[in-house]
């Protein structure tokens, strides 16, 4: 059974006077497998937060369905299965982290002993003890984010839904979050998170979905997405005259430029690059560099944002 299933989800907003209608989510469908780390990508306004809010019962969908481990997403039973970290989480300013974790434990119906155990394990994991008795009011962004993670973990839910968990964090904070997500996966949890930090997503996700204008434009395993594209190869060659290099480039329809290091050719695809390298060597060239240029998630992301021709 999938950890998360979203089928033909729509969300429509009307302005107060009902004249304007916005569709932040239109016909969205995807699944997240158990124990998977799923990166939910998209530009601002693409519908990521709206989808997450529907999964967490903050918004009601206009139509379509969403479920958590087969349980309807808007139900109490589904909410018991999820832990949610909103973007820029806010907590009661006058409470301390210890009181905050205890409060959420009470909302989950945990006994006093269970709540104490939760505090012990969560505070150890997130290093909350040094700030245990400080009020949230003066907390930095990183401290709030750590506490937010702690709140999402109260009750040991199976599915963690994180909205931009790395936004605004410094490199150390981002690394901590990455390690935490790895740890959660090791513990058998499913992590569904939205992010703009594509480098981090590439490192920690099993699968990603790219959302464009409320619908999923691309979805798949990160490794498949990165390797299914034709790689480009940069070939640097010495020992050719300028005219020879130019004619080789023209005959093979590849980009060419001359620099201090030699003649540089950019060839699409590994096979074509190999064949071209053989021709260059046959023409008396000396191979200096053969560098495949890998497609990054950012390249794919940017490609998906371009309007279809």
């Amino acid at each position: 059974m999938n950890a998360i299933t979203v089928t033909d989800l729509h969300k429509k907003y009307r302005s107060h006077l009902g004249r304007k209608t916005a569709y932040p989510v239109k016909g969205l469908s995807f699944t997240v497998a158990p124990n998977e780390v799923f990166g939910f990508l998209g530009r601002n306004g693409a519908g990521k937060t709206t989808t997450i809010k529907i999964l967490c019962s903050l918004l009601k969908p206009t139509s379509g369905a969403a479920s958590i481990r087969g349980v309807k997403a808007q139900s109490r039973a589904a909410r018991r299965l999820i832990g949610y970290l909103p973007e820029n989480p806010y907590f009661y300013e006058y409470l301390t982290p210890r009181e905050t974790i205890d409060f959420y434990g009470r909302l989950r119906g945990l006994s006093r002993t269970a709540r104490e155990e939760q505090w012990q394990s969560i505070s150890d994991l997130l290093d909350l003890r040094p700030i245990a008795e400080r009020r949230v009011r003066g907390f930095s962004k990183g401290m709030r984010q750590r506490l937010g993670f702690g709140v999402a973990m109260v009750g040991d839910p199976d599915v963690l839904i994180l909205d931009e968990p790395m936004s605004g964090l410094d490199p150390v904070g981002r690394r901590q979050i990455r390690e935490l997500i790895h740890l959660l996966r090791e513990r058998g949890k499913t992590v569904f998170f939205s992010s703009h930090v594509l480098g981090d997503v590439e490192q920690i996700c099993d699968r990603v979905g790219i959302l464009v204008d409320g619908t999923l434009s691309t979805e798949g395993r990160v490794s498949d997405l990165l390797h299914r594209r034709v790689d480009r190869v940069e070939i640097t060659v010495g020992g050719l005259t300028e005219s020879k290099a130019k004619s080789l480039a023209k005959s093979a329809s590849v980009d060419w430029r001359r620099s201090g290091a030699g003649d540089c050719f950019v060839v699409d695809g590994l096979e074509k690059a190999n064949a071209f390298a053989q021709r260059v060597l046959g023409a008396g060239g000396v191979l200096r560099e053969f560098v495949p240029i890998k497609v990054t998630l950012e390249d794919i992301f940017m490609e998906e944002q371009e309007p279809a021709a």
């Binding site: 967490c56 109490r76 909103p86 909302l107």
Partner: protein
């Protein structure tokens, strides 16, 4: 229990807010300053002190009910603290009820403290206290419960400013609803029907006002107090049900 957890948290947040102590300070000052009006009413000073003290308890209680109550749900949405609450395995009405009960507990504390200050002051001035004085304080608290329920309803559907205006208007009109039912003959037709209708819809807050009896030491029948409390409880329940229904499908 989830409702109690929310109520406890609401109470704890409120008592840690300095604004509450500022309001309490002004309330205590108003009670102590009531003696000044007592000086200009020869031989009536204890009556005046009792009357003004109870009026101060009511007024500052209403101010707390309005300012905290109309912000109660709105602030949670505006500050986004609600995001991590509503996604918990709880029902939305439990949140509304918990927030309401937390504020009701705070108002109980505030009313008790202010009544204690007023009682102590009356005794220090050589006056005596009877049951009516405390029943008057109890009915003030009951009125605050009703107004708080109205504030919570408005807090879940509108902005705090508009909510505060409506609650304050309801407070003012609620103490003069008899005007709506005892209209002069020249008012007729639709206007008369509407004003009569408003009489039955608006809360009749004068039911909770036995301050004049308390100041003058007039005994009030327990059955009247019980009736007023039952009226308040029914009205409050209806308002809380409406607040829960308004919040049930709200996108946050």
């Amino acid at each position: 229990m989830i409702v109690l957890a929310v109520a406890h948290n609401t109470f704890r947040e409120a008592v840690r807010d300095k604004v509450l102590y500022v309001l309490l300070f002004f309330s205590a000052t108003a009670i102590l300053a009531s003696k000044a009006l007592g000086w200009i009413s020869i031989g009536q000073d204890i009556k005046i002190v009792k009357d003004i003290s109870l009026a101060a308890v009511a007024l500052f209680g209403v101010l707390i009910a309005i300012f905290i109550g109309t912000n109660l749900i709105y602030k949670e949405i505006d500050k986004r603290t609600i995001y991590t609450i509503i996604c918990q395995p709880m029902r939305r009405f439990e949140f509304i009820l918990g927030k309401y009960l937390g504020l009701a507990a705070l108002l109980a504390l505030v009313t008790a403290v202010m009544t204690a200050v007023a009682s102590g002051y009356v005794l220090v001035l050589g006056g005596t206290l009877d049951a009516t004085f405390f029943l008057a304080a109890l009915l003030i608290y009951w009125e605050l419960l009703l107004l708080t329920a109205l504030a919570v309803l408005l807090s879940s559907v509108t902005s705090p400013i508009l909510g505060a205006i409506i609650v304050f208007t309801a407070f003012m009109v609620g103490h003069a609803t008899s005007i709506l039912n005892e209209l002069p003959d020249h008012i007729s037709g639709v206007t008369r029907v509407m004003m009569n209708g408003a009489y039955y819809i608006l809360p009749n807050l004068s039911n909770f006002n036995i301050r004049a009896e308390a100041a003058n030491g007039i005994v009030v029948a327990p059955s009247y107090v019980a009736w007023a409390m039952a009226y308040g409880a029914i009205y409050t329940t209806v308002l809380l049900v409406l607040a829960s229904l308004a919040f049930e499908d709200k996108d946050v």
